[in-house]
Symmetry: C2
Subunit: 235 residues, 2 copies
DNA sequence: ACCTGAACACCGTTCAAGT
DNA sequence: ACCTGAACACCGTTCAAGT
């Protein structure tokens, strides 16, 4: 074991490796110190407590969001940005859970926000709406990542089918006749991500046309008028 | 301390109360047993291990989704359904985090899914698309709930402002000029929920018109053609 | 300056035993 | 049948001390 100099950065890096390798639950101060070949209390010379250490780990896991300033329409660029966010969240699943308890406002984490807001602003959204729109995409992506990688696709499909098959048909008529489709939706997480992303981008795009000449202040109320307008045919 | 009969249900109920009152981190087998006035090991007569106990707690926290078969358009009913889901997720914040690790497929949890799919099916969506659409709304709501209740609105606004003010202006030009709007978006979580919900419903509504006579199998690719169509004016 | 063992107040769980 | 204390292998952290 070559003795690389101890530092906050190295400790956090090894902790992240340990978390990815054996799960976050296995990251303890004692275990981590042993991994580093030092006494447990040595870590307290670098971090006040475990919480501060975890902050550093989460920050590290977040710092490498690949923010590419790609080409194409604002839709394509925004989609690509969210795919990048999704990818880094997938790379460190435990960090997704940790970030829920400690909302990250570090420069590294805000790089994606900056990029997203820039794209939306360029597309023509006013600042307040760009902020809300980006946040919508962000929350969806986070929700997706939170549920991702819990089990394998095969296992997800199987357990979903089992659970749905066990439901009383009278109380759950729709789910009972949607077993295959629901199981597919659970198993094909990638397809689901793209679907919801596209729905959100559609919704945002629809807002670009409106508000044209006369900017209205404040939040827009739910539009109820259009809802019956077009209703699809049978089935 | 009146000695109500011990049971899985009672143990789970007290555990949920304890979790809501002092935070999930404080729920230990020993602490819970003390709360119930029994020996620690007694709990193991009702649950194989802590994991099984937590399953019961999460299930309990989920069982009371107020699924109302309201009136109005499919948009209104779906919005109301998601507000109900949001509300129960808010009621037991720790359960949100727990459900990420153990995807719930219990009848109680699936009641909302059934209701959502029914509304979408009635609106005219084919089964596969209804499954994807509901899941999109579900993931967004979960993402929102995951970040909710972390701090008070005032604290959220304050810390957001501080973090954004500290950013280097050249690297973060948009965020630097969106401090107020971004802080507002962080502070007004309720408004954010409604915004994203409405965007998703807009996106879904747009899909109802299409696919009319000729149903296409499989996932639809991202439509790139329309993206430049309408672009808002200045600003 | 940098590191650390002993000790304290906690965990979940096994096991063998109590009524 | 239902309950349980002792014991084991773990935690995070304080404190006083080592070099």
């Amino acid at each position: 074991v070559a003795t690389e100099r101890l530092s906050q950065e190295r400790i956090a890096r090894v902790a992240l490796e340990l978390s990815d390798r054996e799960g976050f639950g296995r990251v303890s101060m004692r275990r981590l110190a042993a991994e580093l070949g030092v006494g447990t209390m040595t870590l307290y010379g670098y971090f006040r407590d475990k919480d501060e250490l975890i902050d550093a780990v989460v920050d590290l896991a977040t710092s490498d969001h690949g923010v590419l300033t790609g080409e194409g329409t604002w839709r394509e660029r925004l989609a690509e940005l969210m795919r990048g966010l999704k990818k880094t969240l997938e790379a460190h699943p435990s960090a997704v859970r940790l970030r829920l308890d400690r909302p990250l406002l570090s420069p590294g984490a805000l790089r994606v926000t900056e990029a997203g807001l820039a794209i939306l602003a360029e597309a023509g959204f006013r600042r307040a709406e760009a902020a809300r729109g980006y946040r919508s995409l962000f929350l969806y992506t986070f929700g997706w990542a939170g549920f991702a990688t819990t089990t394998s696709p095969e296992e997800a499909r199987r357990s979903t089918k089992v659970a749905l098959a066990a439901l009383p048909t009278e109380e759950y008529p729709v789910l009972s006749s949607t077993v295959e489709e629901a199981a597919d939706a659970m198993a094909d997480a990638e397809g689901q991500f793209e679907y919801g992303l596209d729905v959100l981008l559609d919704g945002l795009q629809g807002r670009l046309g409106r508000a044209g000449g006369s900017p209205r202040a404040g939040a827009q109320p739910l539009r109820r008028d259009r809802s019956r307008a077009r209703r699809a045919g049978g089935s």
